[in-house]
Symmetry: C2
Subunit: 485 residues, 2 copies
């Protein structure tokens, strides 16, 4: 195996097969393992050896894809607050109980549910034709007859912001953008303001309805939904997203200088007393069970696709990681807690409910990480350690992950996934396993988010990373907090 | 330009830009042109030089993409017999008149029109969820309440054929397949029988409705429509196609052994006196105007997409080729006739109308070729010449096309595009410019068939090939028929 050298771990897809990978692993383990067990005051040699074994076992294949397959097939779309999200909780409870975890439970909470009943958009003039459009999550309905109006085009949200309030006179406001693919998904935070805040900005300008180019990077006729946030002080207007090819079409026509008239029709409903819930499963700590390492993903999805990349992948990765540790017969010093968050897509409602429920014990949450960026491979690991011992444990984690192609990053901002935001507010440290998300916004929040888009070997690499992280942080006594030094 | 050698024409996308291409062209023309003007009894040196100049001009850029852009934007979807197809004819008449061609005209005919009003499919049990489905073209409606029934799964149409008649007892029959991508599209002819003949075969077996895995090679949630052909002696049952990911989902559930119950709802309408038409434009022959070389494409499209690859691309390619010849100020010996066929998708109705209208003059149709396989590059040219002089002219055409990466093929079966089938029946020879169609059935008959999928440089290569073919065959006195020797 001349191509296998220490520190270079062959991915199964890069090398073309599990057999080569497995042989490589053996070679690698024999030659490399003894070099790295040297931080005994942070982790024991036994603990480090277990981490390496978990990693290597994961790379030989995990249950991650099978778990995502079951969730997306047996439940399918699972909108927050819906009967389908409830079925997803039943599904998760059944699986996690079958796997034999401790403390498997549902923690319910109430939300205001929203449902899509129907939507349609078409160009009336100058060139009549249908448009592929979808209502944004939370959009109010149009009148039953829909809304027909001329469109006013804005290349960016800033261009819409720049016009005086009340000057759109009942036009339909359109906002475009030029979002590009990025590996780290960083442009999403900037561009999705057009979706979240755009509807109320347009209403303030006098628009009767709001239309955006999908916040997405593909060129297929799938509109991307996603939540909007109406401001309290402006009328609520219906809001839709066009697929990128339809946005191109509309912009081409508008560029010709002709007045474009659009018809939009949206019917939605809200249920002020819908139920959602978080699902919990644990491997209970052998010495310090009240100290908790949190891993997880969100269980709800948008209603258009089956939520394979968002966030079935995360469910599969983190559930398989916990199962891997349990199946290895390992008992960590601290508790590893898997949280499958409910109602993430509609505003991190499960994460808020968790924060509230565990307010008095969050000081014992050691560190957390969520998987919520699809099924691509992890290429970087970062953490917001605030202690010297935390930094050293992070370095050990990074060293054990390096053969997977994962480099430690210098960015130590808090992060680790959207559902950790409330925990970060409460002072919980986080670690982030950065996935390659170049294709993530091709599929995100579309009908095309389905199982066929996932790659088993890439999921396995994620499982390896989560298992190593969860095991090492839970099997140590290291605190990542400032006070822990 | 050391990488440019005679006979190897750099494609613009392969070399990365028009500038490099143009420079290469000049080099190439200077070094290669004198070698090939040697078949004076077939074509004159002047005629061959014009062909080379047309080819080289096309490779510097044509109007093809702009034409497709205008058709798909200003008309959009244009279903046979619809008001939109009528607008497409008005659009074409305007363009062709503006270009200054001779004999620009519409030749109308009546058809039975079909319209899609709505469709829906969902799994009711065991795992309720919506399915991405579309009615096949020509499908009858379900009752207003839809049809709910258990599904019976067949991996292939042959498996459905093999069961005894009348044994499905009102189930919904599902037929899958494993169609793979091919460069020449050859597997479509085999697999699309499941779409065209499947509905009546299922009805004969006792099915209440018929569902297929889309005849397509993508993995996106776009169902592929396309025409069905009901048999006269069986009840007409509603028929739909599932997108490939939805077919995967259904097959996964069925494999678990559970009974799957489906609900389908289809509403369609027919109009027994709809209008369609062919559009004609010509460059009139200077010596033998009644001898006709036919090029063209079909103007209608399915209703789901804007028909950019099927067959806006062909319209752009062949219209741009005729314009290229006209703009060069060339007057061929014979007439070059562009035919934009109407109502192709619903059974070659425009081609049949043409055959009938020109029955007495088809003996003077020299040769024909249609562009109806998307926007991919041409990689092969074949012809069904039946004369020695025809063979030699074909060899000259192939030699001038070789620098475009086009090789002469040995397959001399009649072909040249679906709308030429009636002309082939009437004895008209054909030439086929084989396009690379590996991605064609990813988009074919879906909502995703839109302008953004086309590549300008690839269309230009097609224009070059059509211009060379049309010019050389029209500017000669060669017959490709048996009697012409």
């Amino acid at each position: 195996m001349p191509e296998i050298v220490a520190g270079q771990y062959p991915s199964t897809t890069q090398r073309g097969g599990r057999f080569v990978c497995a042989v490589g692993l053996v070679t690698w383990v024999l030659t490399f393992l003894p070099l790295k067990l040297h931080a005994d005051d942070i982790i024991t040699p036994e603990s480090a050896a277990h981490a390496v074994a978990l990693r290597d076992q994961a790379m030989r294949g995990t249950d991650a894809l099978a778990i995502v397959g079951a969730l997306t097939t047996e439940v399918g779309p699972r909108l927050a607050g819906s009967r389908a999200e409830s079925r997803a909780r039943e599904w998760a409870m059944g699986r996690l109980s079958d796997y034999g975890f401790s403390g498997v439970r549902t923690e319910s909470f109430s939300i205001e549910g929203w449902e899509r009943h129907g939507e349609r958009a078409e160009i009336m003039a100058p060139y009549p034709q249908p448009l592929a459009a979808t209502a944004l999550g939370g959009s109010v309905s149009t009148p039953l007859e829909g809304i027909s109006a001329d469109i006013r085009m804005f290349q960016t949200l800033d261009a819409l912001k720049a016009i005086p309030d009340g000057t759109l006179n009942g036009a339909i406001a359109y906002v475009g953008h030029a979002m590009q693919k990025t590996q780290d998904g960083s442009s999403y935070g900037y561009f999705n303001e057009a979706r979240t805040r755009g509807p109320s900005i347009a209403a303030r300008k006098g628009a009767a309805a709001y239309l955006i180019r999908s916040i997405g990077t593909d060129s297929h006729r799938f509109p991307h939904t996603g939540t909007l946030r109406y401001a309290d002080d402006t009328p609520r207007i219906p809001a839709l997203a066009l697929s990128n090819p339809d946005a191109d079409q509309l912009e081409r026509i508008a560029l010709s200088g002709e007045t474009v008239t659009i018809h939009v029709w949206v019917q939605t409903a809200t249920n002020i007393d819908a139920e959602s819930g978080n699902i919990i499963a644990e491997i209970r700590g052998r010495e310090a069970p009240t100290e908790v390492v949190v891993i997880g993903a969100h269980l709800d999805s948008w209603d258009l696709g089956t939520g394979a990349i968002d966030d079935g992948a995360g469910v599969g990765i983190t559930m398989a990681a916990l199962k891997l540790i349990k199946d290895a017969g390992l008992a960590p010093r601290r508790t590893i807690r898997l949280v499958l968050w409910g109602a993430e897509e509609v505003g991190l409602l499960g994460a808020r409910a968790y924060q509230e429920r565990y307010a008095t014990s969050l000081s014992e949450h050691v560190i957390g990480s969520e998987s919520d960026f699809g099924g691509g491979r992890v290429w970087q690991v970062t953490a917001d350690s605030q202690s010297e011992r935390g930094d050293r444990l992070f370095a050990e984690i990074a060293r054990i992950l390096a053969p997977l192609g994962i480099a430690p990053g210098s960015d130590d901002l808090p992060g680790g996934g959207p559902d950790l935001s409330p925990l970060i507010e409460s002072g919980v440290p986080t670690l982030r396993l950065h996935q390659d998300g170049r294709d993530y916004f091709d599929l995100h929040h579309t009908a095309d988010d389905t199982l066929d888009k996932l790659d088993a070997a890439a999921l396995d690499q994620n499982v390896a990373a989560f298992a190593v992280f969860a095991w090492l942080t839970a099997d140590s006594d290291v605190s990542f907090r400032d006070s822990g030094d």
